[in-house]
Assembly symmetry: C2
Homo-oligomer: 246 residues x 2
């Protein structure tokens, strides 16, 4: 069996996330069905990780095994001809048998997009979170420094189970503002993430930017390992899986 | 009667353009109906100009007359509460009786968005025109210089009628490439435009960028006043009315 890797971009708005579920419209299922339809072979896609309902991807990575002898780069064209236009295979290539889209991943980067302006803008519907009040970027960057590194992220995780290890490593958090569009990108890169972790972290940093919480508060939230202390989970529609490195 | 001006942003994808028509879903009609629904008054909107089906606006400007005594800035909030989320009033203010959104306009700027990459990107569906082959921006800028100024734009107009004056003035054409996103914005500013003029001009400049036509050809097309000589009309979905100045 050959092993093929796909790089995939998608608009998550119309899907119930990546992972196949009974009676649900998901990215994984959509691609697997198009593959079956095009090449009459059942495949299972293994992604770098799930994305939640509504979350987008600039670059998701998934592999599958196939008996097909088609040149590896052709899979992208064949699938794109069948896929709905909100999912696109941006690359396909062959890898050796040891590669695993999830277990071989060294780091993943997510971007959370904030449209920071009181003026409504329809082009950011389902694409960025509008925050009307001007965010203090300098303070957000100070907050990012607190969260960088290896910590127990229990306070920033959806479901806490006592037996579970909630220690994770964040390699960097970059916060960039485009002063022309008033879009702030919060880029979070780590080895792996807990459930909703990026959306809770970005919510905490926005609270810092809004000066609702200060740096001391943020340290307290991190250290006290209590989900109730941190901010609410931000909406999924402004989150993008932007890169996976191997 | 008071005169109120609205600044309007819209995603044109789901509309048959600005202008009200029988049995057609248009931006003008949608806003007029929401106004009636919110304030129980019939108004007529006069825009800076029509936009075609599928064309977007970062900033369209329209005025109307009203008997309402509501503070001018409130109209934006009242309408936004009723409007579908692909149309947003970004500003409302009162003007004197001599103002006319169309006749008082000094210049209008359109942006045509080209996504210049062979890699598919679902986020540009209905938002930018994908051109796979790398465009020669330097040559496009030379082409822009040919079209700048006052000319008879018969070759760049949808419907030529002998009696009609096809002379128009283009104040500037700016071509900017964002090397990170591979998006090229072709910005065209003029006093007024003929039907499809911006989309035909941008098509001609893309032909220059693709090196299908050279600068001499472009001069010939302009001077010979024949629509058949210029390029096809580019699709509407990548065109944005971006500014109107008074």
């Amino acid at each position: 069996m050959r092993k093929i890797v796909l790089e995939i971009a998608y608009i998550g708005t119309n899907y119930n996330g990546w992972q196949k579920q009974p009676n649900n419209n998901t990215i994984q299922e959509t691609i697997e069905k198009c593959y079956k339809n095009a090449l009459n072979e059942d495949i299972t896609l293994y992604a770098s990780g799930r994305t939640d309902a509504g979350v987008h991807a600039y670059k998701q990575v998934a592999h599958f095994e196939t008996k097909s002898t088609i040149p590896a780069e052709k899979f992208a064209y064949i699938l794109n001809a069948k896929l709905p236009d909100d999912i696109r295979i941006t690359k396909s290539c062959e890898v050796d048998e040891h590669f695993h889209a999830r277990f071989s991943a060294k780091c993943k980067t997510y971007v959370y997009k904030v449209y920071n302006s009181p003026i409504p803008n329809p082009f950011y519907n389902n694409r960025a979170l509008q925050i009307e009040k001007c965010l203090n970027i300098k303070k957000m960057r100070q907050g990012a420094k607190v969260l960088k590194g290896t910590h127990d992220f229990t306070s920033f995780c959806k479901t806490y189970k006592e037996e579970k290890d909630c220690s994770r490593t964040i390699y960097f958090i970059k916060i960039k503002k485009d002063t022309k569009t008033n879009v702030i990108n919060i880029e979070v890169c780590g080895q792996g993430f807990l459930r909703n972790m990026v959306r809770i972290i970005c919510g905490a940093l926005i609270d810092v930017g809004l000066e609702k919480t200060n740096i001391q508060d943020l340290k307290y939230i991190l250290e006290n390992k209590d989900r109730k202390l941190a901010s609410k989970t931000l909406p999924a529609y402004a989150l993008y899986l932007s890169n996976v490195k191997y």
